[in-house]
Symmetry: C2
Subunit: 303 residues, 2 copies
């Protein structure tokens, strides 16, 4: 089954962008590096831990695994490059459904200019998908890190928040649920173009919203050595989502960033953003509710 699947996967993959000299089939893939920097992230998802095949098709799993890895590149302001995919495939899944997983990845790769340049296929007791993505940047200074927030910076976020979390709640109540919130949960889109545009516009720090704005803002604050204050009522909400869910539910894969006030107009020209707070001297996160009171949502964050 593995050999048949590997052959079918190699048939399904295409090279993009002119960088890949050798794709699957040799000991390793070979990619022209150019003169800049390689930006690399690895992510694993495990059936029964991160997803369930009763609510996610193999194609959903493949899409989401690649999307969440590419989202890390978006948060650095890097361009997508290559993906390397390791699949642990349970005996019961079958070649056809495993191939659907890869084809959904390949469709997203096509839309984002990514080449799936290598992989590994092994047996496993449950479906395990590991994706390593490498993106490329002109120089280390052209990228955006988590530790660049400065006191006085404005805090912004792209898109709308809470849709993925609301979709997950629907699926947990009814595995047959459908609709835009469920789609948002199953098929997140990495904000690669937006990430590059924000980097060029001069944002000072950036992270993707994978764990929820509250947790991800705390990561920015801790890495940067500042306090970040976010007002719940300024969060851009997906229709029908309340602010607490929008702040604490993860997997929206929007971009949370900081910018010096003098970059505000340039950032607004680069992307659709909402300004949700400010950074100041201090440490950690302050979440402010509609009445101006500080909230402690830590209990929610790891729910």
């Amino acid at each position: 089954m593995e050999l048949e699947l590997i052959a079918a996967i190699e048939q399904a993959l295409r090279k993009r962008g002119g960088r890949v000299v050798r794709g699957p089939g040799d000991d390793a893939a070979v990619v022209r590096a150019g003169g800049g920097v390689a930006v690399t992230s690895i992510d694993t998802v495990v059936e029964g831990v991160h997803f369930d095949l009763s609510t996610h098709s193999p194609a959903d799993v493949g899409h989401k695994a690649l999307a969440s890895a590419l989202s890390d590149l978006a948060a650095m302001g890097a361009s997508a490059g290559e993906a390397y995919v390791a699949l642990g495939v349970p005996a019961g899944l079958g070649v056809e459904r495993a191939l659907e997983l890869v084809e959904a990845m390949e469709a997203l790769a096509d839309r984002t200019g990514t080449t799936i340049a290598g992989g590994d296929v092994v047996s496993a007791p449950q479906l395990v998908v590991t994706v390593t993505v490498t993106g490329w940047g002109e120089s280390e200074d052209a990228l955006v890190y988590r530790d660049g927030v400065r006191p006085g910076d404005l805090i912004g976020v792209t898109g709308e928040l809470g849709g993925s979390g609301a979709g997950l709640l629907r699926l947990q109540a009814d595995p047959g649920a459908s609709g835009p919130l469920v789609e948002r949960h199953r098929r997140p889109e990495p904000r690669l173009d937006t990430g590059r545009a924000l980097a060029a516009a001069g944002v000072s720090a950036m992270i993707d919203v994978s764990d929820g704005v509250a947790t991800d803002a705390r990561h920015l604050a801790e890495r940067s050595g500042v306090e970040i204050e976010i007002e719940l009522e300024r969060l851009p909400l997906t229709d029908g989502v309340d602010p607490e869910l929008a702040a604490t539910a993860g997997e929206d894969y929007e971009l949370l960033f900081s910018a010096p006030p003098e970059r505000r107009a340039e950032v607004e020209r680069a992307a659709d953003v909402s300004w949700v707070g400010e950074a100041r001297r201090g440490s950690g996160l302050r979440l402010i509710d509609a009445g101006g009171e500080a909230l402690d949502l830590r209990g929610f964050e790891h729910a």
Copy 2:
């Protein structure tokens, strides 16, 4: 447990080689690419499929997962660069044993000049280790591929064969077995220096012996469109191993290569090699026994 483990892992890792701008802790790692090519391979091992914790310690598993990935770079003639490690950790393993796994990887990384530049830690029902390694080469032409064997080329192999397979048989008979064969199985060494030296000496194709010489020679023959003949009695045997086992057991992680006859002396100066056969027009593999008869060991190869 995951957060504690991640913090301990970040403490255990060191940067090497001056290429890594940002290691773990941000959305992605950043590596200076220089002007050449990036060479990347991904490998996954799953508890119960590829190893058993009754015969392999977590440290053995970590060592071997990184070693087998680096061996793919050796087979390309590339220099080691960065490793990215995704761990699926079962609840019962504990932080300490998971950290032993990473520390064994880090020790091998140190010996080979590799930087473990990023990773992911998740829960899983059993131990799953995925390693992506990126090495670097001056240009695509300085690397060695599987498809370069030409009719008339000599076939050579480094080191000794069969030790890992013999060690595995001992462990299967007695999980408490020890000695050099068992060590050879548990702690293979990637032949990075040898791979680079052979590439510089002008070998025409190369592959690492992960599936056994017979299977790996067939890969070279199929990718190159030639027939490869190998004489069993010319195989360099680990003490106490018979030729059939040496030809069919995997995981020796030696290097199998082809070279034009005029490169013979240069190859012999570059590394300790044994000449085990020749390539000619045709297809597939011919294995010749001591009496000069062709053998069909396919039944053994997937044992």
